[in-house]
């Protein structure tokens, strides 16, 4: 049986994207050299122009503005295919399709859309999204960058960190604090706006071809029509946008994991040890099966998140997809390196690049542990119907323990974290039910084992050790 990498978990017939994805993949194979991009710390201009010519930057922008008018699932598949060839390219395109343009597409006024979407669809203006600040990382309720509205004008002052696409962007959507009802707002700034300055490129462990810079806003004064959509809707806009971004990012994890799996399959079929190929050895076979099952689950969860029926469900599933896919990406890349033996540690195999690129996904767009605690809180306040399987039993036990604490349970981050991780496993498993393939069945067994391990995690002794290590200074 031929292993069809791109077919896993995505539609196989009557697929309107099939032709575009084939062209995109061909372009990436022919024109993108991931290791050269990593070494140069930038994507060549001709690659960005080629992607723009293909229409990659307009996939999710309405046809009326020159895009293809497709939805989040299409964006996910573009990011997945791109990440299989190079994660920096996938991050650049994915950020543009997700966090970068989604606020304007979803909430922009007709005038805002007419002004910016045509250039964004054509890729002549690339989008960035700026939320993180020196004092606000995963906690966006503490933004210090402020939009002060004075009639028809808005003044913006502050600093943003880790802005993906920062150097190459022509348009920045910023999450800012404001005096509007709701306290927060999204505002569009252009590269040319006086007072907006882009800082130097950050030097990173991975994703080196993807631009990451700080930006500084020093007395930026623009018309108040730059505020996106109706005033006072900032929190809801931000929530929707972040859920889009998390889902697209999870799809990128699938692409990188796919590249690691591709390399592993090629290696284990050729490499001989102890008189036979690695592929013929039972322990290796089990590990490869784990990789395939995990990747299969990742894609199935991305599909569910990208097609969630409403905002609440999209938030829940996007959190689960982001956590599960970034953890899965890391685990698959790590196992791929392991199965390559000593050669996997060498840059020439491409495995170190995949591993370096994968690492940040557990951190950015919300650190996984913070997101897991958030998912735990959602699970506690809006629980899903309980299930009688092993995962459901583990989750029900933790939820019962939380409810016995009353509202104070929301302030128990360790318990929320544990419930959140069990909810991730539950959502991953729900993506495979009813099991139809060997990959479904294999993955469900692994997920049940995972739930058991999370549920069995004890906090006994942790507090004492943590206190002895972390509070040492205060006792001296």
């Amino acid at each position: 049986m031929t292993y069809d990498a791109l077919a896993i978990s995505y539609p196989r017939s009557n697929d309107p994207l099939a032709s575009f994805l084939t062209s995109l993949d061909r372009f990436l194979v022919e024109h993108v050299d991931a290791r050269a991009i990593d070494a140069a710390h930038r994507i060549p201009d001709q690659v960005l122009r080629g992607l723009a010519d293909l229409g990659a930057f307009g996939v999710t922008i309405p046809e009326a503005y020159g895009g293809s008018g497709l939805g989040l699932l299409a964006a996910c598949r573009v990011v997945d295919v791109s990440a299989r060839r190079d994660r920096a390219v996938a991050t650049t395109v994915g950020l543009h399709l997700g966090l970068g343009t989604r606020p304007l597409v979803a909430f922009g006024t007709a005038a805002q859309k007419a002004r910016w979407l045509p250039e964004l669809a054509a890729g002549s203006r690339i989008a960035a999204f700026a939320a993180t600040e020196p004092g606000a990382g995963s906690d966006l309720s503490r933004l210090a960058t402020r939009a002060v509205i004075d009639g028809e004008r808005v003044r913006v002052d502050g600093q943003k960190l880790y802005v993906t696409n920062g150097r190459i962007a022509g348009l920045y959507t910023l999450a800012v604090a404001s005096d509007l009802a709701g306290g927060g707002a999204l505002i569009v700034l252009e590269r040319e706006d006086s007072g907006l300055s882009v800082g130097p490129e950050e030097r990173k462990l991975g994703l080196r071809g993807s631009s990451t810079t700080p930006i500084t806003l020093a007395g930026v004064e623009v018309e108040s029509a730059r505020l996106i959509g109706p005033t006072g809707a900032g929190a809801a806009q931000l929530g929707h946008t972040l859920a889009w971004g998390r889902t697209a990012m999870a799809a990128g994890c699938c692409g990188t994991a796919q590249a690691a799996l591709d390399a592993t399959l090629a290696h284990v079929r050729l490499r001989h040890q102890f008189g036979r190929t690695l592929a013929a050895q039972p322990v290796v076979r089990a590990q490869v099966a784990d990789m395939v099952a995990t990747l299969h689950t990742m894609r199935a969860l991305v599909v569910r998140a990208a097609t969630a029926p409403d905002a609440a469900e999209h938030e829940r599933l996007s959190l689960a997809a982001k956590i599960f896919c970034s953890d899965g990406d890391w685990a698959i890349c790590d196992l791929a390196l392991q199965l390559h033996g000593g050669s996997g540690y060498l840059e020439d195999t491409g495995l170190p690049l995949l591993l370096r690129d994968a690492r940040i996904t557990r951190v950015f767009e919300g650190a996984n542990d913070v997101l897991a605690s958030r998912l735990g809180q959602i699970e506690l306040t809006a629980p899903r119907p309980p299930t009688a399987d092993l995962i459901g039993v583990q989750l029900s036990e933790r939820l019962a323990a939380a409810r016995s604490q009353g509202l104070a349970a929301l302030r128990d981050p360790v318990l929320m974290h544990q419930i959140g991780h069990l909810a991730v496993v539950r959502e991953a498993a729900a993506s495979l039910v009813p099991p139809a393939t060997a990959a479904d069945r294999h993955a469900l067994i692994r997920l049940s084992e995972s739930a058991l391990a999370i549920g069995a995690r004890s906090s006994a002794g942790v507090a004492d050790l943590a206190a002895s290590v972390l509070d040492l200074e205060s006792r001296q």
Partner: protein, 90 residues
């Protein structure tokens, strides 16, 4: 625990709300202020706010006590009720 006068309770609620709401919420906070539309809190953040009030005032609230509260006035009424109950049982 604070003296449960309406003024003290509203002052405490206002201080906690300013601490947790996005951007610090500079506008006036009244009983009519809505948690979602005016303060920008989603359902979980609303419950976190109630949880902080629970902790600050020692109310011992159950999840069922707080579901459906949509305004600062709703929080105020619940808090006053709960404080008076605590006082009676003390």
């Amino acid at each position: 625990m604070i003296e449960p006068s309406p003024h003290n309770v509203m002052t405490t609620l206002t201080a906690i709300i300013r601490k947790v709401s996005p951007g610090g919420h500079k506008a006036a906070i009244t009983e009519a202020t809505r948690l979602t539309q005016d303060l920008g809190l989603d359902s979980v953040a609303s419950l976190e706010l109630l949880s902080m009030i629970d902790e600050e005032l020692g109310l011992f609230l159950e999840m069922e006590d707080v579901v459906g509260i949509e305004t600062v006035g709703g929080i105020f009424a619940l808090t006053m009720r709960r404080l008076q109950t605590l006082e009676l049982s003390a």
